[in-house]
């Protein structure tokens, strides 16, 4: 049974801008669904429409099989965690937790029991008698969570609940929220701009861009089979390497020409992407994940591996691996989408730098024992079976 169902939901603001366009998905009982996308993509608007804080322009929203388009937030059986936590500053933690129950006119003993239970789940017992101003950021976040779970609602709505925490605490709360959600089994709609949060927490992830849903799938499916360039570039860190090339089919397979290099794709590889054939002699964008690039001096020979040459521009040694930034003689597969993502990820400069002189930048994930050096011209092996291909005009993935 679906807990939350959105059917062709749209939000158009009075000034004509679209907040959300034709959004449809349904959440199963106990499912953790993450809405992710760059700022202004409509993810928070979508969440607020489910909460009832934003009017729905068109479409139908159902919670527990009841249409709630015109139902007030208080009657939707939802609980929400706000980005700012929205703790009531004049109430003690205890009263903050009890507030939703008091509004339900629940008997006092029952309220106390439920508050105590929520407090023990989140470890708030010690601070029940403090005011929000006396709490640390992490504690406030917990209280906000507590106020949501004390209601035992049909759905949790969370609007970037971790964005105000420092990095360490964020990682810790990430797993804690996942754990609590699983323990309670309450369907959760979670909004974030952080794709790592989305990937690690969500049972499914919905990627939005410019008010449109791009793809909704399990994190692994999103990663392995992105629908389009935007999803391919947005999901994964470091991002997928995207270059422009021209594909040319022959009897044994196809040649992918870019810059002054060629990657040979044999029939086994091209058969993974049957419709690639219709792009014969045309320019396309191809993508390679950083972990599908191998250090030629370390990797074993494999018929699917094709070699390319690149110049190392920067090495980031992370201990467990080395991120090798390289430049390659090719056009970067830059579309407006990619620019937007690069801006979000703060990588615009390197992208723009690579645009003019047909030098593209890329990243490879090498094992720590790799001996490549900065400014060296190296040989990189590409695992062609894991390559991605995109229509350069529409941005769509080329699969079937």
């Amino acid at each position: 049974m679906a807990t939350v169902e959105l059917e062709h939901i749209s939000k158009i603001y009075p000034n004509g801008t679209a907040g959300v366009t034709d959004l449809s998905f349904s959440m199963q009982e106990g499912e953790f669904l993450v809405l992710v996308g760059p700022s202004g993509c409509g993810k928070t608007t979508a969440l607020r429409m489910v909460a009832g804080l934003e009017e729905i322009t068109s479409g139908s929203l159902r919670i527990n099989n009841k249409e709630v388009n015109n139902v007030a937030p208080k009657d939707r059986d939802i609980a929400m965690v706000f980005q700012s936590y929205a703790l009531y500053p004049h109430m003690k933690v205890r009263d903050n937790l009890a507030f939703p129950l008091k509004l339900q006119k629940m008997p006092k003993e029952e309220i106390e029991k439920k508050v105590a239970r929520a407090a023990s789940i989140l470890g708030l017992e010690e601070i029940l008698d403090r005011k929000p101003s006396q709490l640390s950021g992490g504690q406030r976040q917990r209280v906000a969570m507590g106020r949501a779970i004390v209601r035992e609602p049909a759905v949790f709505l969370m609007d970037e609940p971790l964005s105000n925490l420092d990095a360490k605490l964020r990682v810790q709360m990430r797993s804690e929220i996942s754990k609590i959600q699983r323990q309670l089994g309450v369907a959760t709609l979670y909004v974030t701009h952080d794709q790592v949060e989305a990937m690690t927490m969500g049972d499914r992830v919905a990627v939005l861009k410019n008010s449109f849903l791009q793809q909704i799938d399990s994190p692994q499916r999103l990663y392995d089979h992105p629908n389009n360039l935007f999803v391919a570039a947005f999901i994964g860190s470091p991002s997928m390497n995207l270059f422009e090339g021209e594909i040319e089919f022959n009897s044994t397979g196809a040649n992918l020409n870019f810059g002054n290099q060629t990657i040979y794709l044999d029939n086994k590889v091209t058969s993974l992407h049957p419709s690639l054939r219709s792009f014969n002699q045309r320019r396309i964008v191809f993508g390679i994940r950083p972990e599908d690039l191998y250090d030629a001096s370390l990797a074993n020979q494999n018929p699917n591996f094709q070699s390319i040459k690149a110049k190392v521009s920067l090495i980031e040694a992370l201990g467990s691996e080395k991120l090798i930034h390289f430049t390659i003689n090719a056009n970067a597969g830059i579309t407006d989408d990619i620019k937007q993502i690069a801006e979000e990820k703060g990588a615009m400069d390197s992208l723009l730098g690579s645009q003019g002189n047909s030098q593209a930048e890329g990243v490879a994930r090498f094992p720590p024992r790799s001996a490549v050096k900065r400014d060296e011209l190296i040989e990189i092996l590409v695992d062609t079976t894991n390559m991605h291909f995109f229509d350069i005009d529409t941005g769509f993935s080329i699969w079937e």
Partner: protein, 275 residues
Amino acid sequence: MSKPINKILFYGFVIAFVLSSLFPFYWIFITSLKTSAEASQITSGFWPSKLSFSAYNTVFTQDNFLQPLLNSAFVSLATTVLSLITSVLAAYSLARLGIKGKGLILGFILVAGFFPIIAMVGPLFLVFRTLGLLDSFTSLIFTYLIYTLPISTWLLTNFFSQIPKDLEEAAMVDGASRLQALWKIVIPIAVPGIFTAAILSFILAWNDFTFALSFISSPSHFTAPLAIVNLGQSQFQVFYNRIDAAVVVTTLPIALLVLLAQKKIISGLTAGAVK
């Protein structure tokens, strides 16, 4: 400020300023403690030769000053309560509901608040005469609202605008209606602002003389300022000690209230000035 001469000049000026502003109050206070005979002497001194509470006694027994005090209290309280209820709702709507022309409305409200009192007296007199409301508390309360509502609405609109919207939205998701969110979340947080608006309204009503003089005619309806003027005057003598006793009694509650609530008023008046 480093040179001692500057310091002496500065403190000398401050002391002179404070003394000159406090002196009238001091004079009123000690005159109220003098006997009628001493108060009417031209050579009356800076300290009563004999402390006497007879003026207070006479004011409450013979002059029945309690009645005007109660009248004032009733009129001021009624004004304050009505003003608060209306201005809280008005300010909340202006702050939250995205009303079109909000700036214009607020500007108009501000102008109304600055309208000269004396210009209102004539027209309002005619209005109340037509409505048969002259010599009634209603006429005063209604008139005071003309001045207290703009101030309160302005103050509270600013105050409400600063309370994060998230809090109300959280309350509404938590199961509150909009009115419940206003009552249980917004108003408790806005207490300093509401308190300030209340005090300002109360003082405005409590201190008014012009309107009371114009609209009220029967002594049983006199408010305190009006009663003071009609107090302690016989054909041959002005009883300054009795007048001043009444002034002290009228001023003291307000002064105490303001002193006690000083901190809240200041935080109410300056809220949002600096984040």
